[in-house]
Amino acid sequence: MQIKFSLNGRKLCVDTDPAKRLIDFLREDMGLTGTKEGCGEGECGACTVIVDDKAVSSCLMLAGQINNKSITTVEGLGNKNGGLSELQKAFIKHGAIQCGYCTPGMLMSASALLRENTKPTEKEIRTALSGNICRCGDYSAIVAAVLEVATGEKEPKL
């Protein structure tokens, strides 16, 4: 099936099996391996991407379902000059990245949150991220990073 969609700002038309999982389509057909598989049942959030401004688990969507939709993956974050986005910089600064496997999904969930709510509270951030498991830390560094981008407060709290 011909699928028309926009991927990280680029308009594309790709022929693929519509029943292929979106995560496999992105990783294999599109060669974008930033989106990770952690569980295959939509529980861990590692495969989170943004579809039409909403965070979704790409292991719970099929390629045919992105027809006429706009997709952002972790590869699509960043500023126009090929640099890191504010959120990515904040993650790095606050030590929110350890093994890194949950990081792409976390960034996508956080980005989606900030698209719909530019000034989330800590509670709202934690709710938005509760579908993303991090096993290395306690979420506080991640929350601090998102809060910094939301509020503009720059000091990391240990």
């Binding site: 990770k36 295959g40 590869e75 890191l84 990245i97 890194g100 792409p104 290395c136 830390g137 929350v143």
Partner: protein, 757 residues
């Protein structure tokens, strides 16, 4: 402690940017030309003899290249835990593909095909017939004389006894009270975000394996010994790892992908599904522990007897070593004048146990700290005072092996925590009796730093200065995601006066990097880190020695600044670059230095956790409302990472206390083999955690540092359990404290109260 240039400051992990942009390639992201995909076929029954496997239908599916099972692969047994060639006391009780399923998750077959869909389709077409055998899911049942033998030699794999007397701290007093308690801790899963993944390829007589392992040399040992190959013809490459926590320390599926790659002469990739990771890889050991301890009136321990029953699961794996390790845990933390230990390892038809973060310390200290709370209550002594009477002090020895515990600062952890948490006031609060009840609890813990006095605790490192003065450290480091590479960069940077980002530190590749035991036993900061510091320091001496010729001074008169070697005597200096190039071109001397370091000390790392919980007595849900962790770390190398590791350790400790259990029904079926049913603490319910560091240094640790990643998870579980027991007035000791158990105990309490009226 004096401020240093780099050590003690905060740095993001070395490859943070690659992780943030998604461009770091983990094993499951790698694809090779002509690659095949492997899918495991794991047993759905807990105990059965496989009578026949019919792969004919499955083989007919186009794209299927091979299906492996017991009868078409080498029938040599191995042990997935063995990381050295000469382990004598290892029991090799499993085949690559079994002929008898011994637990749900045992490996029966694998399919190798052109793609994952085809492999999955073929896996469903394999036909088995098997004869069911009796299923044993409880370690206590396995102990019985007539329990059906899961392996030929019976279900009791190993028995050990030990008796240590502390002649340096004898207690000359009579017993005032004897307190006993049984505590049961459960099997738990690592739940690393990246499930196990491997690639193997056989070309030009060389087998290459890419694995996110904690021990490349162990992988090599197992694979070579299994297939009779010389060690130099098998290359194992450590690839980036999405978390391990011990789960990737055994060498479970490397043989399977290797065999397929050599048989089919094409690269083979295996990425475990989450379910296969839950049931087909190691889990935290399940243990039943019983304490019988006699105390003096002032609360000092006189004698302590421990009975320990370890549930190995379907294969023995590391359980012998785990039991032996647990034998010596308590004496690392406490003065125990007369300590005796009796332990057994049994087989059951459940998932096979292995090492998980803390390697026996969480299992033993969780049980003991819950017991100590009960004992404190029976003796009428405050729990913190009780610990202070009994914990070790700097310079004490571990009576189990005579090894010095070094700068043991457990008392500082206890005292600082007590003050910061406002323990005395909070503990003496009037108890709540409404729907929501709060309580406070604390616990203490101790852990090792490396394997000494076990013989194999070695790291070898090579440091090279390139012609332009830049530095490369060739090491067989295994970054597990906790910042080991960055820590090494910081240590080298401190010695050489070069910024951490400018120093390249390799991870392990058996073809190119020198030997390192691996990332276990909390040896990376303390042992590998000190190896690196020594290697870099000795290398610096070498630089100074060569520079002295150019600078016309003695080595003692040279200092280093801004990548230059500067003579104190004159204004002369020579940059690293100039020195390196001159030496190479003019003198034919390469600036390269290799050093092997064998650990000769093993101090303890200590911690104290203080917790407040609030229990909803209707639903049994527990909220952690305050958590303070005080950690004796010697010195933080990367401050931010130390905090983050401690917090991550607390997440796991909380899961161990309240909800994470790999549980089985009476037929050995796994009740929660997926994340929708196995719950960790997520962002919504993880509390804010306060962390304090005690940095008073440690001998032989790089710049005084010692380990924290594993130590940090040891005390949290008992502290939480103790807080729950404090809130409810109970002695709950069967972990995890699920809502069901809490509600049952409240209900029983209430009925008991009513019966008494």
């Amino acid at each position: 402690m004096a401020d240093l240039n780099f050590v003690g400051k905060s740095f993001p992990i070395d490859n943070a940017e690659d992780k943030a942009t998604g461009c770091l390639l983990y094993a499951s992201d790698l694809t090779f030309a002509n690659m095949l995909v492997m899918k495991l076929v794991l047993s759905n029954v807990a105990h059965a003899k496989i009578l026949s496997i019919d792969i004919s239908k499955a083989l007919k599916i186009p794209g299927v290249k091979a299906i492996y099972h017991h009868w078409n692969t080498p029938a040599k047994q191995y042990n997935t835990y063995r990381k050295l060639p000469d382990y004598n006391d290892i029991i090799e009780d499993r085949f690559m593909y079994t002929d008898t399923a011994r637990f749900v998750g045992d490996v029966i077959a694998s399919v190798v095909a052109e793609d994952a869909e085809t492999a999955a389709e073929a896996a469903e077409k394999i036909e088995f017939s098997f004869a069911p055998l009796p299923v044993i899911v409880s370690a206590k049942t396995a102990l019985e004389q007539d329990s059906y033998p899961i392996h030929q030699k019976g279900n009791i794999v190993f028995t050990t006894e030990a008796h240590y007397k502390d002649l340096k701290h004898p207690v000359e007093t009579i017993e005032y009270k004897n307190v006993g308690m049984s505590v049961s801790t459960q099997k738990m899963c690592h739940v690393a975000m990246e499930t196990h993944a491997y690639l193997a390829d056989y070309k030009n007589g060389m087998l290459t394996i890419w694995s996110p392992t904690q021990g490349i040399f162990g992988v090599r040992s197992i694979v070579c010994d299994l297939f009779g190959m010389p060690y130099n013809k098998v290359r194992v490459i450590k690839v980036p790892m999405g978390g391990s926590f011990g789960g990737k320390q055994e060498f479970i599926y490397e043989p399977h992908v290797s065999y397929a790659a050599m048989d089919l002469k094409r690269p083979v990739k295996l990425h475990l599904s989450r379910r296969d990771a839950f049931i087909g890889t190691i889990c935290r050991t399940g243990v039943d522990t019983n304490f019988s301890v006699s105390f003096a009136k002032d609360g000092r321990i006189i004698s302590c007897h421990v009975d320990c029953l370890v549930d190995a699961g379907g294969y023995v794996g590391n359980s012998l070593h785990m039991l032996n390790a647990m034998k010596g845990k308590l004496t690392r933390g406490y003065h125990i004048p007369d300590y005796s230990f009796n332990g057994k390892v049994v087989y059951t038809n459940t998932a096979f146990s292995g090492g998980m973060r803390g390697w026996g310390s969480p299992e033993m200290f969780t049980a003991f700290e819950i017991f100590m709370d009960k004992a404190a209550a029976e003796l009428g002594i405050d729990p913190v005072e009780f610990r202070l009477h009994n914990v070790v002090e700097p310079g004490d020895e571990n009576t189990a092996n005579g090894v010095s515990l070094g700068n043991a600062r457990g008392k500082e952890c206890l005292k600082v925590g007590r003050k910061l948490f406002n323990w005395d006031e909070r503990r003496n609060r009037v108890r709540d009796f409404g729907r929501f009840r709060r309580g406070v609890g604390m616990a203490y813990g101790a852990h090792n730093n490396g394997m000494f006095s076990q013989p194999s605790d070695i790291s070898t490192m090579t440091i090279r200065m390139n012609e332009d003065g830049s530095v490369t450290l060739q090491t067989s480091l295994h970054e597990v995601g906790c910042g080991s590479v960055r820590a090494m960069q910081i240590i080298a940077a401190e010695v050489l006066g070069i910024a951490p980002d400018e120093i390249v530190v390799t991870e392990g590749d058996t073809l190119y990097t020198p030997y390192d035991l691996g990332s276990y036993g909390s040896r990376v900061t303390y042992v590998a880190g000190e190896c690196l510091r020594k290697t870099a320091s000795d290398f610096l001496m070498l630089l100074k020695k060569y520079a002295s010729h150019y600078l016309n001074c003695t080595t003692g008169e040279i200092c280093v600044r801004d990548k230059k070697l500067i003579s104190n005597r004159s204004d002369n200096s020579i940059s690293y670059q100039e020195l390196a190039t001159k030496l190479l071109i003019n003198d034919g001397v390469e600036l390269i230095h290799t050093e092997a370091y064998k650990s000769r000390t093993n101090p303890g790392s200590y911690l104290a956790n203080y917790v407040e919980t609030e229990i909803d007595t209707f639903t049994g849900l527990v909220k952690i409302t305050d958590f303070l962790s005080v950690n004796d770390v010697g010195r933080a190398i990367n401050r931010q990472m130390v905090y983050n590791q401690i917090k991550g350790g607390i997440q796991m400790a909380a899961g161990y206390a309240l909800r994470e259990e790999l549980s089985f029904d009476k037929n050995g079926n796994v009740k929660n083999d997926r994340l929708s049913r196995y719950h960790t603490f997520n962002a919504a319910d993880m509390p804010n955690v306060r962390v304090e560091l005690i940095e008073m240094g440690e001998t032989n640790g790089p710049f005084g540092a010692k380990g924290v990643g594993e130590a940090s998870t040891i005390a949290g579980t008992a502290a939480i359990v103790n807080a729950v027991n404090n809130a409810l007035g109970t002695n709950l000791s069967n972990l995890p404290l699920t809502p069901e158990k809490i509600v049952a105990s409240i209900y029983n309490q209430r009925s008991g109260d009513e019966k008494c009226r």
